[in-house]
Symmetry: C2
Subunit: 139 residues, 2 copies
Amino acid sequence: MKQRFELDARLLRDCHVLGYLDECDVLLHRNAGAPWFILAPHTTQTEMIDLPIEQQQQLLKTINQLGGFVRNHFEIDKLNIAAIGNIVSQLHVHVVGRSQQDYCWPDVVWGRQCDEVYSAEQIEYIAQQLADELGLVRV
Amino acid sequence: MKQRFELDARLLRDCHVLGYLDECDVLLHRNAGAPWFILAPHTTQTEMIDLPIEQQQQLLKTINQLGGFVRNHFEIDKLNIAAIGNIVSQLHVHVVGRSQQDYCWPDVVWGRQCDEVYSAEQIEYIAQQLADELGLVRV
């Protein structure tokens, strides 16, 4: 049996785990002030540039798909796509839809708290749309 | 004669223009608190996901090269790679080397000022190393 990829405890605390897609776990940040998704590729590398090129290209494809999904499903003005990892070293890529009306525009979301949260129904809806449209395998 | 790619005024104000590499302008942020480079692909698209896939892959290759350069030439603990664009919509990708000793670790650099600047000699040295090692065309 394939061992389940183990997510960092901080990511688990901060996010809802929606499922996985093309060797990436797909997370939704609990902060609902902006549609904030996180892709965690199944790797022990901590830098994107250290992934084999094939895995980088797969990740790029998944970023494209998820970015398109965010733009289609939320009212956004800009995508913010970032691999930071100063606090959580496990490789993860933020895909955040930003709106000029959101809680911290035009600042970046990192380090900016927001009390808005998703309902269970909203999380279920988003996960199901990702499953239907992108083939997310739900967990 | 090929028209020179026109950089956004804010990028020109905030950065030293070092040259170009594989259809990207290469900039060095004036904030010397961290080795902070910016790639501005020669495109009018504002979202990375809207670039043709070939151009995305070229950009990825340039990010890999520049990220490796930053890691080789500076004492860093982490790379931060990000396409944000909330303030400057012209597509640009930040490639920032972060150290646990730098001015705002572990926070992100965006929105965090620092008075440290590069000397003309340091800028010249960095540009020349980029030219020698990665083939940067200097301007």
